[in-house]
Subunit: 216 residues, 3 copies
């Protein structure tokens, strides 16, 4: 699979929806919703293209701007139940993550990067937009929080993409399989609150008492 | 009008003043004031130049550094009434916005970008510095807040710049007219609290009761 | 001294430790610790390389990724006393600052930048990672806070690096001297709370009463 524009556009759309949903919850206006959606949807890809030394696709290919507009309108008309916002946001965020870790990695490989750097850039692309979203909206980024695993699914997807590409079997079929895997992994991790060990290993039992250091 | 350096420098100065004013309000020291002013004044242009694949003017043209120094000194000596800080900050921010949406768009056109991408990059240049300022100072970015219209004036200015350029009438005179238009639009929107509809369209009357969904 | 990779790698490691320490204090998990460490350690250098128009070393040279992994593991196993975290973080941050202001400046000079821009880019490299760390973790960046001097030591180190380079005496020995100077200056400033004047010069005695405007 070379870089088809469609999965990348879909990823932009999913992330843009997550941005517009957060804008809705924060009480931003419609323009703020469009801008936050654009930042989330296009931010990761712009960083990816700058690292690759290419003109960012978001600027050179105007069709990319359609996705955030659709996302902002969709959220404007369909956002009705405040209760489900967190859940919806997580689902759309996971969908964007699943697509971007593949397209980001594939674009890096296409540009001649070595496999290790391609995995790293794929993960950066996938988590970058969401990181910008949370930072700009003054929330602790879910990328870093210890509630559930976020970066590991993206890393897995990027690694599988490199493996498929090196073996010449990266095509629409395997791409869909990888995306479904990453999407399911991320949602299962969120639902069952799978999480990694804390950043610190507390030895003293008292310390362990007030902050349960548990693992998957 | 090709890219003259003067309006760009003026825009850097205006944004740098807004950054130094915020530094004063936050209780930062003189160096923090200089650094925050530099980030606000130069940040949008650095992103613009990176997207254009050029060496950022802020680094290659040392005269750009004079503007944040002047801004920090000006704020140091003239900042006296805490009450008017919010107003002053908004005025200088609007002046920077008015200049950057023109210079950013003109530079993108000069670099061979298509008109749609040039408008987008002009708006990004204009709103980028202020976004960095608010994020770094831990405030909800005024770009997204629903109190008054912020991005629309910049968008209008960028679109007018493209129109003038396509018709070969982008010169000092039309540039000043556009800048005055954008500046006035932004300040009127701020003064009269013009704002866009909220990001969500609430159907239920109860929901509408606690969060008035009003429009311009 | 041309750009040796070792001091740059050491700087990445020190900054990554500061990121992982903050992750530990914030209750992030081990993956969040690795990611925040990577962002802090590699972020400043990526910005530097993008400004220089080069492929970021963090992506093209996979050995850079070893430093954040080591840092996250070190913090995981050795973090035990919460009381000393702030102090440790400051020390590792100062060590990263001391190395990056030299390597960033030297790389800019090697790339043909003029001396003034090289100093500016060296300071940007040195303070960039820490700024990202504090912004992402939702803290007021220590770069801007008025508690103690942060950017001046980096500026001094960058200026000395340019001076040594222009006189052809930038080698391992002078590099170590500059690094020790910057490191000591920063830690002394922190310990004795040396700070610059506030961003504003208050004339009225009442205003000065509630916010003591003191200088070094």
């Amino acid at each position: 699979m070379s870089i088809e524009i469609l999965p990348d556009l879909l990823g932009v759309f999913f992330f843009a929806v997550s941005g517009s949903l957060l804008a809705g919850r924060k009480g931003f206006d419609l323009i703020g919703s469009l801008l936050l959606g654009s930042l989330v949807g296009l931010g990761g890809g712009v960083v990816r293209d700058l690292v690759l030394g290419q003109s960012p696709a978001a600027f050179s290919t105007p069709v990319y701007l359609v996705a955030p507009v659709l996302a902002a309108l969709l959220v404007y008309f369909l956002y009705s139940s405040v209760e489900r916002i967190g859940r919806l946001l997580t689902v759309f965020d996971a969908a964007g993550l699943a697509l971007f870790c593949i397209t980001g990695t594939a674009k890096a490989l296409d540009s001649g990067m070595n496999p290790v750097a391609s995995v790293l850039l794929g993960v950066t692309t996938a988590v970058g937009g969401g990181l910008l979203r949370d930072v700009v909206a003054n929330e602790v980024p879910r990328l870093f929080s210890s509630h559930d695993i976020y970066a590991i699914p993206a890393f897995l997807g990027a690694a599988l993409t490199v493996l498929c590409s090196l073996n010449g079997v990266l095509n629409l079929g395997t791409g869909i399989v990888i995306a479904v895997l990453v999407f399911s992994f991320r949602l299962l991790a969120w639902h069952f609150r799978w999480h990694a060990p804390l950043a610190v290993w507390r030895r003293s039992p008292e310390a362990g008492a007030w902050t349960g250091q548990s693992s998957v």
